[in-house]
Symmetry: D2
Subunit: 334 residues, 4 copies
């Protein structure tokens, strides 16, 4: 950590700060410039409250030298992580096609969609049993019954599945789920993250609507520091002032997260745009940007879907998209 | 709900949509303009998926006529709600001064701060026992012990207290808490909100970092539709591209929320700015904007605070601020 | 335009508004619902101040039925526009590779880069003679001399060039420029836009840092309504809360602009990311998203570039990128 | 400037960078930590391209020690600047009430409003003769005739006036204007700013919709570095994801700008909210936050205003507001 003092700071105040920093267990290197003094802190500054130091009257600014995340930091893990998602490898050159309906509705629906996306080349099935809804009056999922239907679809097709856990009290219902999804709204539900750090399932962690990459990585750190290193990051659109799309898909997050971390990074173009007709171009763009997978909503009857039908592709549309995804992937990895 | 069709839509497609809408239980008024057709939907359109309709190929745009929130909608509740926060009235002309440390640390600290803020005129004590922290390596609160210390401070001073619940599994520990706070990161933790709808304590609901006013009100709706109508809204800064402050305090939310809803609206200038020296001007601004209360962090030893010391006022600073708050309040309500 | 009145509005007030709207030359269709009244306005509502109507005490909300842009609206121009950029077609299936240095520095530099990017397959040269710089102390371009050097590079390579006009008073210096660029900071410099509406050169209009798609299209409308229909739109990153990239490249703007307008849409990944190493993945993503061209900064000596060296590719890097761009383009248009 | 190198950088690369930095005229202090090397640069680093250095493969991050603005930096100008706005002092304890219509429309209108706001206590008249409009089809001001009508209103009331200059070619028409306003959309029209640096009139510089405080100060620097030090800063709302207000008024900018700079800071609550009924609370909040003035739109017939009637107060509403502004100001400065 580096601390820049304001010009003309009284000597006693400077000494006072240096002594306080030393009491936190840090070595302080003082460098007096013509105009300002710079303190370089050596030692483990991760526990020092940077905001507090920055707010002191005599301090001009503070900046971190090292990132506050460790378990998910590529500096300490130069090799890409390959997550095993119910046997399907994700990351480190393994590309994952994840597809399925927003919500699980009936056995016929989920099994039908699962078969269709499998035929189109999907590796993993997605489907929501517990649905976060902005309004308390909207359909919020079939819950335990939905999980059961996902198991049926898995048995019928062999596709492992990813599904969202919203409430920590439901964790035991997820015992044989293949990948547990943490939704964007729960990205900083720290108790939930901590609990998932103690389980042995891969976690698909969605970036919150207004969360920075550092915050996303710190949330991955919550899971990983508990012992569970199987984390997949997912970009799904951020909130901006967009007027025609629901969110703004931030694809530069893909190469930047790969630079910062060794974790796999996938993209969800369905939630980002909210419009089925924007999903194919944005899915292809995600692949071109280097994503390790794309998660796409597919529904056999979007007009009658109980949730988010607007953003779901029909199976035949997904099939066409999947073919192009594979071709773009070939160009990217050539 | 109003649905505008694209120009030149084929007659059968238009008829198909109208029939589909009628099957959802709505009456459809068709108005053919020179250039475009407009469908006016009459009946309870709250359950119709507006995004889905908007995404149809033949639809140009869709707009809601009525707000999706009911319990907290001023249209149905013209009178201001007065919430009783441990006996202290908030809203409807009753202004609440809430103050205390970010985290509860020791009995001496919390009792000391409680006495000081009471002397300065505070009506309610705040203090965190469970602390949401971006990093898993940071101090996350004294938990049950912290709640116990808050009870001690209440006993010593008579001040009721507000404290944050993060994990739904801890709810029973909060049995004699005066006001339960839902933090910004949990504003859309819908299971938590639903559970709080069944309890009999006032809920202080903080606006999420990137949540719109409508989303905030929909979260209040989650609590209220469960039967608990005692909700206080709290603006605490939104995320923008700000370079010198932590967040951007959105004070126009105060009069706008008052227009949309009958719930009390308070402001937390400490988290919004992250800098103690910006807290007094922004607290006064909040009062001038018509807030029903201000919640301010106060610590007797900010430099050694375990959390967010950078934004805490010292008791003597709070005392000065509190005096000015009262004067501004007098001007505003004159 | 549709106007929704508040519930329980007095009859005289409603009549007053209807009469006022009729005086603006509109026909008003009144539709009284159970709960609220909706007014449908027929006629040219483009000149009615929607914000004013929306602010009236008796009005609940107002929404537009038709977009305020006409010249650039795909509804009236279903065929893609092909712009001739100094003889190079852009749009409507014609993909443009635009490359060159941020600033023109010396004859050797600009001619060298021009030859290199031509060899790599570029169709158009870019280079700044007038540079907008946040700081008055930074290098702001060679000005007239820079334009002269661009002409030399064109003569040597046959590549037409695009360069930015900042000050309307310099317009005559641009007489033989092939494409005039309007920078992001000038996207709403309305006098400049109006003037360009009277000239006969293609205009490359960059989206402002915080401008919506509608605002971008309204700025195109300024140029086009003056008679100059040769406008190319350019997405170059928007401002968000991004922590590791300079801006957030909004690629969903590409398919959405194509839906709203018939104008060609290109992407500038260099300014969006500010980091050379992110340019290739984001350029490929732009192509995959359906862009009609990509504009990339290339410099033969980035470390000593006078401006924005951080985001420039070296010629050999550009060559590799260009080859992949062509392959992705093939997949997209297959 | 401080440069942090990546861990494990090869010695030759480190030496190469140090030599390059020294060639830029800087002294480099090397501090080798356990894990990373930190370079402290001494000398005038203002001309070094921080982004370029940050993008180098061996560099982890770069941070500025000193701000890039000088003329408007409070560090070098500890005393508040008092600007003379046509004889009216602004800043340094002098509070300015600025009021008037969005656009000048007729002599009767502007003289009528000027008399009314003067009676209510306004110090300066505002009124637009040249109006920036998002749509080319909207009323764009009376231009030279509007300036003439402002002169008439000044002659009748003695109030100096502030009015916006959009096109640098119109500068000579502004010869006897009291304060020249630079609108939000032109905040980074650098040629315009540079030209204003050579004139002898106070400049009221509005913050752009998505500009940081540093960018605002750098724009002030453009004017001041040309020799004209009479700059007033104006916060007028930033763009966020707000759903019910036009923009988000960023009042924490007021104390923060006062900390960073000695220039006066005023607030425009009318454009920020776009709604007349939100103007009074936000104007009072601005005063409470410490603004040196508030600029408010007032119109004698808002319903028939040619521009932005939605946000204009009627004269009698302004009178009430002005009285409260004075009372709040008394509390703040007590």
């Amino acid at each position: 950590m580096i601390v820049v003092l304001k010009p003309g700071v009284a000597r006693e105040k400077k000494e006072g700060l240096i002594q306080w920093l030393e009491r936190q267990g840090l070595q302080v290197h003082v460098s007096d410039g013509q105009f300002q003094t710079v303190l370089g802190l050596i030692g483990d500054a991760a526990h020092v409250d940077m905001d507090l130091v920055g707010s002191l009257e005599i301090v001009d600014k503070v900046s971190r030298v090292t990132e506050p995340f460790k378990c998910c930091n590529r500096k300490f893990h130069p090799e890409d992580l390959v997550v095993s998602a119910g046997g399907v490898p994700v990351g480190g050159g393994h590309f994952a096609m994840i597809a399925g309906p927003c919500s699980v509705e009936t056995e016929e629906q989920i099994v039908g969609v699962a078969k269709a996306v499998k035929a189109a080349g999907a590796d993993l099935l997605r489907g929501g049993a517990f649905k976060p809804r902005t309004s308390p009056y909207d359909f919020s999922g079939l819950k335990a019954e939905g999980l059961e239907l996902l198991r049926v679809a898995r048995a019928e097709t062999g596709l492992p599945f990813v599904t969202e856990l919203m409430d920590i009290r439901d964790l035991e219902l997820f015992a044989d789920v293949d990948v547990i999804q943490v939704g964007a709204r729960n990205m900083q539900n720290f108790d939930l993250l901590r609990e998932l750090g103690h389980c042995d399932k891969p976690v698909l962690l969605k970036r919150g609507l207004a969360n920075t990459l550092r915050e996303l990585l710190m949330s991955a750190e919550y899971v990983m520091s508990g012992g569970n290193e199987q984390v997949i990051l997912c970009e799904r659109g951020i909130r901006s002032f967009a007027d025609y799309t629901r969110n703004t898909l931030d694809l530069s997050a893909v190469p930047m997260l790969h630079e910062l971390s060794h974790l796999p990074v996938i993209v969800d173009p369905s939630h980002a745009t909210g419009l089925a007709r924007l999903v194919p171009p944005m899915a292809l763009a995600a692949v071109a940007a280097g994503a390790d997978g794309v998660m796409v909503e597919v529904h056999n009857d979007p007009l009658n879907a109980l949730c988010d039908g607007a953003q779901a592709l029909r199976p035949e549309e997904y099939e066409k998209l999947a073919a192009k995804v594979r071709e773009i992937r070939k160009v990217v990895t050539a």
